[in-house]
């Protein structure tokens, strides 16, 4: 049995520098991350927070920051009671030049077997990262309802 984790790879017509900017700037994340803003100074050991309408939904600490190659932060859900009991998870972004493209690998791990959080995360990332790819390639995100993020976890 493999350990519970989520891995997603996508190829984007952009540079690692622009992709790094899109992952670390609220101006970008608000557009493709369903309104969410990222807050951090992106230095190892500094706090990280994800905010929706000014409220912190997830928070953690920067674990690795090697622009424009690798970014990692811990990730703990704060908003929904059902998910607050889950352990602290980890997100790792790896950015690699691939011809004229950049290959982005997102690894999200540190889940418990049979927990609810992995299901929520597995449904969320493809929608977020599809929007990120569209934004960088065509300057426009996708019109996907936020409900697409919650498939597999019915947020109250």
């Amino acid at each position: 049995m493999s350990k519970p984790q989520f891995v997603y790879v996508t190829y984007i017509e952009t540079t690692p520098e622009q992709l790094w900017e899109a992952l670390t700037s609220s101006r970008f994340t608000k557009q493709y991350w369903f309104g969410a803003e990222v807050r951090s100074d992106w230095k190892v050991g500094s706090p990280f927070a994800l905010l929706l309408d000014g409220e912190t939904t997830d928070s953690g600490v920067i674990l690795e920051a090697d622009p424009p190659r690798r970014l990692s932060y811990s990730f703990k859900h704060q908003k929904y009671e059902e998910l607050r009991g889950e352990p602290i998870s980890r997100v790792v972004f790896t950015l690699e030049p691939f011809g004229s493209l950049t290959r982005l690998t997102v690894l999200h791990d540190g889940f418990v077997e049979g927990g609810k959080y992995l299901g929520a995360v597995s449904n969320g990332w493809p929608a977020i990262l599809s929007g990120l790819k569209s934004l960088l390639e065509r300057g426009q995100v996708l019109a996907i309802p936020r409900a697409a993020l919650n498939k597999g976890f019915d947020a109250k």
Partner: protein, 170 residues
């Protein structure tokens, strides 16, 4: 072939600014697939039990199979057997299912690669490296009119694992 024995071992979901009809066409037509599927062409006989074929850019047979579910523009399920000597005997058949659903003004495309037996991560590395490249290209093609040229060789750990099982690779 008992379909109940097949379990999805690799699943990839991608959202595309397009319509289900256009995504269906991109998945099933030779001229679209040539642009995003490493130059390979897909041919689908549009009926249950029809032939499913993928040819390399030089026209050689690369993948062959049979249409098991045909419900345009919602669901296509095919056997997807790579034409390498001994592969199907040693690994069993591969089943690929595309599900296409509207999601707001976009389309959610889910690809599931299923097998009738457990397979190692090394063997599955082929699909796990190929599908994200193929489906990233399909999304770009439909959204921007241009598919990026993604070139990749089969992963070394997959080729080594196949060789160890006595499967001949090109």
């Amino acid at each position: 072939m008992n379909l109940d024995q097949f379990k999805p071992l690799t699943v990839y979901t991608i959202y595309i600014a397009s319509t289900p009809e256009k995504v269906w066409e991109a998945l099933t037509s030779a001229e679209f697939s040539r642009q995003y599927f490493f130059g390979n062409t897909v041919e689908v006989e549009p009926r249950l039990g029809g032939a499913f074929i993928v040819r390399t850019p030089d026209g050689a047979l690369h993948i062959s199979g049979e249409v098991l579910a045909y419900d345009p523009p919602r669901k296509l399920s095919v056997t997807f057997n790579v034409n390498w000597p001994e592969l199907i005997e040693k690994l069993g058949p591969t089943l690929v299912t595309y599900e296409i659903e509207p999601a707001g003004d976009a389309v959610r495309l889910t690809m599931s690669e299923s097998h009738d037996r457990p397979l190692s991560d090394d063997i599955l590395a082929g699909g796990r490296s190929g599908w994200p490249a193929i489906l990233s290209g399909l999304k770009s093609l439909l959204e921007t009119g241009k598919a990026p040229q993604i070139k990749m060789a089969p992963p070394a750990q997959m080729l080594a694992a196949l060789k160890a099982m006595g499967i001949k690779t090109p």
